[in-house]
Amino acid sequence: MSKRRIKKVAVLGSGVMGSRIACHFANIGLEVLLLDIVPRELNDTEKAKNLTLEDKSVRNRIVNDAFTAAIKSSPAPLYSKKFANRISLGNFDDNLSEIAEADWVIEVVVERLDIKKVVFEKVEKFRKEGTIISSNTSGIPIESMLEGRSDDFKTNFLGTHFFNPPRYLELLEIIPSSKTNPELVEFMLDYGRKYLGKKTVLAKDTPAFIANRIGVFSIMSLFHTVEKMGLTVEEVDKLTGPVLGRPKSATFRTCDVVGLDTLVHVANGVAENCPNDEKKSAFEIPSYVKHMVEQNWLGSKSGQGFYKKVKGADGKSEILSLDLKTLEYKTQDKVKFDSIGKAREIDDLAEKTRVLFNHKDKGGDFYRTTFTDLFSYVSFRIPEISDELFRIDDGVKAGFGWQLGPFESWDALGVSTVLAKMKESGKAVAPWVEEMIAAGNDSFYKIENGSRLYYDIPTKTYKAIPGTENLVVLDNLRAEHTVWKNNDATIIDLGDGILNLEFHSKMNTIGAGTINAINKAIDLAEKEYEGLVVYNTGGNFSAGANVGMIFMMAVEQEYDELNFAIKQFQNTMMRVRYSSIPVVVATHQMALGGGCELSMHADKVIAHAETYMGLVEFGVGVIPGGGGSKEFALRLSDELKDGDIRINTFRERFLTIGQAQVATSGEEAFELGYLRRGVDEVIVSRELQLTRAKKAALELVEKGYTKPIERTDIKVLGQEALGIVYVGANSMKSGKYISEHDQLISEKLGYVLAGGDLSEITEVSERYLLDLERKAFVELCAKKKTLQRLQSMITKGKVLRN
């Protein structure tokens, strides 16, 4: 059989999930056909226009409306608005035959088996042999959908469970039926990861599959614990949020976002369909939840749930929380737990978890109860929902944003230690855990030779996680391959002559420590290695320069020191480009300010698709001072051709920095000029990013990398551009769109981008522009309003527009 190639995808059903799944396929460059039903009757607008049920606009109304709403929604489902034209819209009656051209048909219609069956019957009529068909169901057994289908359909059919919003939520559960071709399962696990950027998790065809089964158990069992322990809503959210490496929305706020009705629906489904679940009672709905559903307090969608936003008499809004005893909303209490206070002082999550679990306070009690409940439950889910334990961790982590999965947390706490406690308190554990320990294995995972292994229950041995054999994973290398380290950064040997520099300063900001580390990494690489990758596993690639350091020098009026520090920053950025080894920067999430400037000086950027890049220095009252302004002038010069209307291209570049535009995706970073087409790359899979970045560095080495020569041929516009800068800044200020200080910063930026007030278009050097940029930066730091902006960012994390 020839290789499967996905070129075109048909998505059946354009609801919230369907439309957004279609968008994500468009994101990765596929042609997409999105279909929905034909409306039964005309609406008022259509009647007014004298349209009939035969008009195309009426026939496609449902899909048109749903798709329009989706592409307008936030967070944006498309990497770039331009990608919308990759999706063609139609209806089941007129366009279903077009699925013959699709390589994959995804069903995302309403969750009713009878309706799904009708859809599949129609699909069978038009699909070509070998076409993949999948259902996005979250609760209907995949097996039950096979009835009446052909053999070719059955072998090419499986469940593909995306989570909302599909662009952003990492999880994709792959659920084969008993008839699914095993080759297809392997293909989908790989395709979902490499092409769609998802964490693909193989799940058995059991109720709620993996993530929802465990996640909903965790919430439901917690509902009961909370009641027993008499904890408040805000207490629980404090206990189960970031301190545990889980999302800020923690437990109850997550419920509000998901919708209590949805949660109850899934819980009831499990209770009904899993008669042998040993914790069936946990899925019973507590009375306060029942009351909330009856009152329609479902969360965000109905305006109130566990929390309720109200406007006080003073016009200020306040978020009240529900008192679970009185079932009335009240002002939130200040939450204080000794255990949390202790844990906050620790960076390492495993260590944090240990402290929380072992602390003797109410918080500790809570953790001991909920963790052991969870451990017990997941131990019994093998082999019911998965044969391998890592799939449960992967599912929960990717589906609910936990940094540690249940088995990983258990590992962190010590498997046998916890097991002993569980036995003491009479909590059951599946026999395989005891067998594991009896065989002398005290952890579910271990790292060997840079690979992470999991405990394989049937063979009682450790095995590599399938699909990760050839991956470069920083977490697996850190312990044994660290070459150099300071407080803010670590240099790790990735093998094959490539070093990795990872930041771990606060928010991964760039300050003295990281600057030092960048230079050290380049030094080391030039001396003993072949290339360098800058990549990290933090929440964000880098939030920018360390403004605290700049503020200190500015406020002390140590301008010479400040000038020196900025110069060092610039020199370091220049070294990133002008060294004897290739430097590849691999970004993810926020890459702002200095983080963006670092990327702009790389030989190549391998940006994760979810990279939010931007030069946002205006927000703190300065212009990009680490070569960002220089680089924009350089790129402007390179993009101008003879006869272009230079001033307009100049304006585009000027406004990108002047409006602190942040790309909302890697693709948009190209559109805004932060990334270079033909040089930089976007990769959809975060999991594969470092492997690709290392390979890219090696490719540059193989091609014969030589140190580039600093540019001296940058054409700047001089006075030709300055006039429009002054007019624009004055007009924006006069129109009250920007402040007087913004006007000043704009003029300084314009001056740098124009290369100063030269009388004619002139070729200048990078050094010349860096000097202009630095001078402007330091001058702005001497302004009171810039200090106020810096201070606001440091103390409140907020952009002050003064």
Binding site: G723, I724, Y726, N730, S731, S734, G735, K736
Partner: protein, 391 residues
């Protein structure tokens, strides 16, 4: 020497960008009107015309290369008649009539075609390459302010409320709609045959043609409430919106100015004569107030009082400046913009002066009145006013 306006026509005004005239270039638009002028006076030969003077506010790109000369060649189908382009922004089309009039009065010609054209569809406001003098921009930024910002400044300085502006805009639409309905502009308008070449749904080349002969700016569905909902577009917390500003438009208008000798030679019927024309400078930051200075000058030249004027066309660049001018000079709203103005009918910059002149001739004729005044504010702090007497 006496001078006479013996004919005048305009195109209907199209909305810029998405309107009906966007497929017709400005040179073609202007040539069409000139051909129509000639067709209406068949005894006149092109060789008898001394000059073609074309007002244009953005003489570049499609309007570049001295569009005045090109329009002469295209419209008259003769190499013998020269042509020039005149730019005083929004009064260009009135300025050209004044130039023609003066030339003839001074014996520099007997018959001149004058007017203006502007296609705002293909050309960005202000032009494609705006390069202000950096030093001046720093010292006197208001010289380069956008017109919208000056409208805000006028609203602030002369206390023109948002409500009054929206009401004024609404009335402009109502008057224009009524005029359209009554066919008031029929005598003004030269129908334009538009040819469009496009690709159909299947990517096949297709052509279509249609006649455009009615102003498309007036909005039947508008209301004061709808106008009140629009957001200010030139200043944060401002009052000037897309709804109470003039529309950007495509259009052309030309008149024929003749000497006494020429009138006699061809037995032409004089319509009107230009009594006076004046332009004046004001503070560029309150550009819209320009007519307040220009109108008294024009009246003084003419030896007339404001009360002598029977009809006024005050270009509605913005409701804010229109109202400020009306209030400052105590203009009579009953005789002002009786068929709507630029807010509803559109404002093809360089054409507007000639277009308003054509409109005022026909309206004065309908009313059987004598004196009409065309006035407007002009970019970078100017105003202009011209007074005509019907014959």
């Amino acid at each position: 020497m006496n001078t006479y306006i013996v004919a005048g026509y305009r195109t209907a005004v199209g909305k810029s960008g998405r309107g009906s005239l966007r497929f017709t270039r400005p040179d073609d638009l202007a040539a069409n009107v000139i051909q129509h002028l000639m067709n209406q006076n068949p005894s006149i030969t092109p060789q008898e015309i001394d000059d073609v003077i074309v007002g244009n506010a953005t003489p570049e790109a499609e309007q570049g290369l001295n569009i005045g000369r090109l329009v002469s060649l295209m419209g008259l189908n003769s190499i013998d008649v020269p042509g020039m382009t005149v730019n005083r922004y929004c009064s260009s089309g009135l300025e050209t009539i004044a130039i023609a009039d003066s030339k003839i009065k001074n014996g520099m010609g007997n018959l001149i075609i004058a007017g203006g054209v502007e296609s705002m569809s293909p050309i960005a406001m202000g032009g494609w390459r705006i390069v202000p003098n950096a030093k001046v921009a720093k010292e006197n930024p208001t010289y380069y302010w956008g017109m919208g910002l000056t409208a805000e400044e006028v609203a602030n300085k002369f206390n023109v409320s948002r409500e009054d502006q929206d009401q004024f805009a609404f009335e402009s639409h109502m008057k224009a709609l009524k005029a359209n309905e009554n066919g008031t502009f029929k005598d003004d308008i030269v129908p334009i045959q538009v040819e469009q070449v496009y690709l159909d749904e299947n990517g096949k080349r297709q052509t279509r043609s249609y006649t455009f002969d009615q102003d498309e700016g007036p909005r039947a569905g508008t209301s004061v409430e709808a106008l009140a909902r629009l957001r200010p577009v030139f200043a944060q917390g401002g009052s000037v919106t897309a709804g109470n500003s003039s529309q950007t438009s495509d259009g052309a208008a030309f008149v024929m100015v003749a000497s006494e000798e020429m009138v006699k030679r061809h037995n032409l019927k004089p319509i009107a004569r230009m009594v006076s024309y004046a332009a004046a400078g004001v503070d560029p930051s309150i550009m819209g107030i320009g007519p307040v200075k220009a109108i008294p000058l024009a009246l003084k030249q003419a030896g007339l009082k404001l009360s002598d004027i029977d009809l006024i066309e005050l270009n509605e660049a913005f409701a804010s400046q229109s109202l400020a001018v009306i209030r400052e000079l105590d203009l009579n709203p009953e005789i002002l913009n009786v068929n709507g103005g630029a807010i509803s009918l559109g404002h093809p910059l360089g054409c507007t002066g000639a277009k308003l002149s054509v409109q005022i001739f026909n309206e004065l004729k309908r009313r059987n009145k004598k004196y009409g005044m065309v006035t407007m504010c002009v970019g970078t702090g100017q105003g202009a006013a011209g007074i005509f007497e019907m014959l």
